[in-house]
Symmetry: C2
Subunit: 120 residues, 2 copies
């Protein structure tokens, strides 16, 4: 169980690395393909479906992404073949609250939902 | 699958009913007991652990809750024994973006994580 929690936290870390580096290919590879995915960007309602969600990430990353973004205080909760991580997203002095939901596909954790929003 | 998605949406609906009615007993019963639970209330960082999360719900509901709160545009995604719902929380003219994560315990969907935050 500890190993799986570590793997889940590593997947969460990879998400923020791809985000910080503006790496579209890694970002696309991080997201699940066998189930419907969803995403709520800060200040926006939920989006559903891989193509629309990936389109937003492409736009965000290709317009510069969020250099230096990283997760603080990440905590993982395992739910069998799914799991989620809560963390604070730190971008400079800004801090956002995030939920990242993952699912196991072919033995690795892939993101199926992301919500980030203002802490206050 | 459609039945399970409907059951997941029904659990999400029950959460907002208990919230609107300020029903502490139903709220406590809605939350999972076999796994760690988490919660990010609007404008606050994530909390982990059933006792601390339930304490916040008791305080919110006992101070009046959110009469009239209801979910709009709820969409469910199934992940085996887990699943999540995205929706908009409507309270009067206010709208919040929410993610609600559930897990199956003894055949019913129980909440394991809730994040709500401002739409804009």
């Amino acid at each position: 169980m500890r190993d799986e929690a570590q793997a889940l936290l590593a997947a969460n870390h990879s998400f923020y690395s791809a985000f910080a580096e503006g790496d579209v290919g890694r970002m696309e590879n991080l997201w699940a393909e066998d189930v419907n995915v969803a995403c709520s960007h800060p200040g926006a309602g939920p989006l559903h479906g891989r193509s629309v969600v990936m389109q937003t990430w492409n736009e965000i990353l290709q317009s510069g992404g969020a250099p230096g973004i990283h997760a603080d205080d990440a905590k993982a909760v395992l739910l069998g073949e799914a799991g989620f991580v809560t963390c604070m997203e730190c971008i400079g002095d800004a801090r956002l609250v995030a939920t990242n939901v993952f699912v196991r596909e072919s033995g690795r954790w892939r993101m199926v939902h992301h919500q980030a929003g203002a802490e206050s």
